[in-house]
């Protein structure tokens, strides 16, 4: 082992990544180590990517972990674990919750309906040489009293692989959390310890694997009978894809035909029956990843 140990905690804003990093740093301090930690606050908190680099040893210089240098990676969210995996040593400890937080940005492709999110699949970690724990930390946390204990559960799994005494962990956790949640945090930590000690097995995903695309792709054409349109603007306003506009004679027209998903809101809501949506049911294969 190198003289400086590195643990990377990652997740999504609001999951408690920073608190988990703080607890680990204080545990290392209590064990007599020098410790440094790095994270980023601010804009990333708004549902974005959150990470906490924790390094401890006799004398720590860089607070940041280099690529392939983390001794352990703790992911509070599945896709974030995959994102940061390149920071983990090939034989490092991979601990990930199976929670999947799909960001709004994953739902923007309304043409191919491709969901930009890696579905839960433990097989992608099959080539990892170190220990791998994928645990339903969210479920365990809920059983222990609250979904917000996910970070504590995963710290419990991590603690199996670090040399710190478990009572130091528990004292530190209690110092960092609100008094009324202290007991359930200790419970969650112990549940995590048990999961970390148990033989690693393939845990089922929290939800069924997500489909990447519906079987049939939408394909539709909007026809507007200009003579019936009185320019009320309703169709323009309701179109979720912003396909339509009023032309300079205040008659609705198609501005972006390719963006039409065939939802028919314009047709349903036109007071003058001036809009017709014709579906072209093209049987397209679903195979978009």
């Amino acid at each position: 082992m190198p003289s400086t140990h590195s643990v990377l905690v990652v997740g999504v804003g609001g999951q408690g990544v920073v608190l988990a990093g703080n607890i680990l740093a204080d545990v290392a301090l209590a064990a007599g180590f020098d410790v440094k930690k790095s994270e980023v606050h601010g804009m990333s908190k708004r549902g974005g990517i959150v990470f906490s680099h924790v390094r401890y040893g006799a004398a720590v210089h860089s607070p940041l972990i280099g690529g392939g240098e983390a001794d352990a990676l703790v992911a509070l969210e599945w896709a974030e674990g995959l994102r940061w995996r390149s920071y983990l040593r090939p034989d490092g400890v991979f601990v990930s919750g199976t929670a999947q937080i799909v960001p709004p940005a994953a739902h923007l492709d309304h043409r191919r309906w491709a969901r930009a999110y890696p579905a839960f699949d433990r097989a992608v970690l099959a080539d990892h040489r170190g220990p791998v724990h994928t645990v339903d930390a969210l479920g365990v946390a809920r059983n222990a009293g609250s979904a917000s204990l996910t970070n504590t559960v995963l710290l419990g799994v991590l603690a199996v692989y670090l040399e710190f005494p478990h009572d130091v962990w528990e004292e530190t956790i209690v110092r960092h959390v609100p008094a009324r949640t202290a007991e359930m945090n200790v419970r969650a930590f112990r549940e995590g310890l048990a999961l970390g000690r148990a033989p690693m097995k393939l845990e089922p995903a929290r939800s069924a694997p997500m489909k990447s695309a519906p079987a049939r792709r939408p394909a539709a054409e909007v026809e507007i009978t200009a003579a019936w349109c009185k320019g009320c603007d309703i169709c323009v306003r309701v179109c979720p894809e912003h396909c339509l506009r009023l032309n300079d004679r205040a008659i609705a027209e198609v501005a972006d035909a390719a963006a039409c998903t065939g939802c028919r809101l314009c047709e349903y809501l036109c007071p003058d029956f001036a809009v017709t949506v014709r579906r072209r049911t093209a049987a397209a294969p679903a195979g978009t990843p």
């Binding site: 994270e39 804009m43 990333s44 549902g47 280099g66 995959l82 709004p104 940005a105 739902h107």
Partner: protein, 606 residues
């Protein structure tokens, strides 16, 4: 901090700066929230015996700190790098006046732009203003250097720039906790020739400033803040700040000169170091400031040829630079498979009151000059409703210019938050009124400075310590500025918001629309019972998805080839916006949950 606190604690760099200032007897501290500087004042506000304020902007903050310094109290002003631009007017002349008691200006830079609009290197301000520059490299130094900065400020009668970066400010390290030095009250000494910058006085002060710089360079040459570590004489590295830590890890055997007191550059110290090594490198984040200074001094150095000038340095980039320089051999690249990048940009929160106004602006086809705040995220799809974002308070002035350019065919709207409006937007609104430029100003009043974590401001009605304060009335303020058309609207009411903005852009003069819902995250989390999607009624039209709400997700079910939508009850704030968008009435209250009070959110029509 209680007296029983352990002597060694893990502190954020920002908390360490605050601790250092506290122990140095700081009496007045002022700033404006800005990532990554915000926690400095928040930490200081937890100490007794220090007057701490959120100022209305950074220039005011520095004026307050300078005034306190002239009044004989040690003072600190803290801001992010772009905040120093706002305060620069004061800073450059404060270098002429000098100080009373110690004055430390903390600039928290953001290389890599984690939460900023640019990555300017504020070390240049030290040279520009002619003031000393200290650059801590971790939390322990952040505390020690802050205390040293006060001493230096008083010894040389100058403001001192303490420059951190995100990795220092938001990095943590072990700090020894000490005692507070009793603040010495020097009192205010009248000295117009020094403090009244009439041209005649200022002319006399400029040579004093230059002489002071010469003396400071001499101080820097022997300062313990510049640490020479002679090891292997073949490679010498001059570095500062966080880069020093990466260098230490990448080249543990190399000789290193760590510049903690880097301006004025300690050239004699640097020459001695250069003479002791065969090959001399400079590793510095962003601009080649030290490198250029060394070249100008006739030294042979290598630097930006190997290390990037943009973005943050990282341990990997420093190592790779030394590999390219032939100092290190390339490590076997880690055999970890690359994963397809999944985008996860920051987003507006579920229930964010900024969402609907931007949907309305997009419908209006308005040219939208945006500003600095959470709402800048409305520039991203699916809202995609902001055309420009530049600097704090710039939206209104830019909207005036856009309108005067004659270019946009449609209406011109400036959109900015309440805190940004009070920071520097209101002077531009005055300009619009004064010069009769017909623009619409949308003030997104959520009662807080949300982006930086919910700091109070003059229209919040609280101080940084949570004490009650005079609450600025935005409507009365706009009226006093001369705006005749003002409407306050509930941004959770889609129809009302659309109608208000339509009427505003139709008004032939300056119009102001103010939204009035509080931030759902700060100061308190606002949660109502979540909504749910009656799956059989959803026709997957995606109307609700146009909000970009994180609680709205695609299910695995589809309708006519489009994914149906569900609501994550753990994320839904119960704001009742999406039910107004749903044309099929599929979004309903969760069964078994009591109805939220005061609002019928189930009307299907916008």
């Amino acid at each position: 901090m209680s007296a029983t606190a352990p002597a060694r604690r893990v502190l954020l760099g920002n908390q360490a700066v605050a601790r250092g200032a506290y122990e140095a007897g700081v009496t007045v501290a002022a700033g404006y929230p800005g990532t990554p500087s915000t926690e400095i004042l928040e930490a200081l506000a937890r100490y007794e015996g220090v007057y701490v304020e959120w100022s209305s902007n950074e220039k005011v903050a520095l004026d307050v700190a300078l005034g306190a310094s002239l009044g004989g109290a040690r003072a600190l002003a803290a801001m992010k790098h772009v905040g120093v631009n706002v305060a620069a007017d004061t800073l450059l002349s404060a270098a002429y006046t000098g100080v009373g008691a110690g004055l430390v200006v903390v600039s928290a830079d953001d290389p890599g732009m984690h939460s900023s609009q640019n990555e300017q290197d504020n070390r240049l301000y030290a040279r520009f203003a002619g003031i000393p520059l200290l650059e801590p490299a971790d939390s322990a130094e952040a505390k020690a250097f802050t205390a040293a900065a006060f001493e230096l400020s008083e010894a040389y009668d100058t403001p001192v720039l303490l420059r951190t970066t995100t990795r220092i400010s938001h990095g943590s390290g072990v700090v020894e906790i000490g005692e507070r030095r009793r603040p010495a009250r020097r009192g205010f000494r009248r000295d117009p020739a020094k403090y009244v910058m009439l041209p005649a006085h200022a002319r006399a002060r400029h040579p004093i400033l230059l002489d002071r710089l010469d003396r400071l360079a001499e101080e820097a040459n022997t300062s313990p803040l510049n640490a020479v570590e002679l090891r292997d004489p073949r490679i010498g590295v001059i570095t500062s700040g966080i880069a020093a830590q990466y260098v230490r890890d990448a080249l543990p055997e190399a000789s290193v000169l760590r510049l903690g007191f880097s301006f004025p550059p300690p050239l004699r110290c640097i020459r001695d170091f250069a003479a002791a090594v065969d090959r001399l490198f400079v590793v510095e984040e962003l601009e080649p400031i030290v490198e250029d200074a060394l070249r100008a001094a006739g030294l042979r150095v290598e630097g930006k040829a190997y290390f990037p000038r943009t973005g943050e340095l990282t341990p990997d980039l420093v190592r790779e630079g030394f590999v390219r320089a032939g100092v290190l051999t390339a490590a076997a690249s880690p055999p970890v498979p690359a994963v397809r990048a999944m985008p996860r940009p920051p987003v507006l929160c579920p229930g964010c009151p900024h969402t609907v106004p931007f949907m309305a602006l997009r419908q209006l086809g308005a040219a939208v000059a945006g500003d600095i705040g959470c709402y800048t995220l409305a520039a991203l799809p699916p809202l995609a409703a902001i055309d420009t974002t530049l600097a704090m308070g710039s939206s209104i002035g830019m909207a005036i210019g856009l309108a005067r350019s004659g270019a946009p065919g449609g209406p011109v709207v400036a959109a900015l938050g309440d805190s940004t409006f009070l920071h520097s937007g209101m002077s531009a609104l005055l300009d619009a009124v004064y010069n009769r430029t017909p623009i619409t100003v949308l003030i997104l009043d959520n009662g807080t400075t949300a982006m930086t974590g919910g700091q109070p401001h003059p229209a919040t009605g609280r101080t940084i310590r949570g004490d009650e304060a005079t609450r600025t009335d935005l409507v009365a303020l706009c009226r006093a500025l001369g705006v005749e058309w003002i409407r306050v609207v509930d941004p959770y009411d889609i129809g009302a918001t659309h109608r208000a903005l339509e009427a505003a852009v139709a008004y032939p003069g300056v119009s102001v629309v103010i939204t009035n819902r509080p931030c759902v995250e700060a100061p308190v989390k606002i949660r109502r019972p979540p909504f749910t999607v009656a799956g059989e009624a959803c026709n997957a039209c995606q109307a609700c998805m146009a909000m970009g709400c994180p609680a709205l997700l695609w299910t695995d079910e589809s309708y006519e080839g489009r994914f149906k939508v569900s609501i994550d009850p753990a994320l839904c704030s119960g704001c009742a916006i999406c039910p107004q968008l749903c044309p099929t009435g599929a979004i309903v209250m969760s069964p078994r949950e009591p109805a939220p009070r005061g609002r019928d959110g189930a009307s299907a029509d916008a």
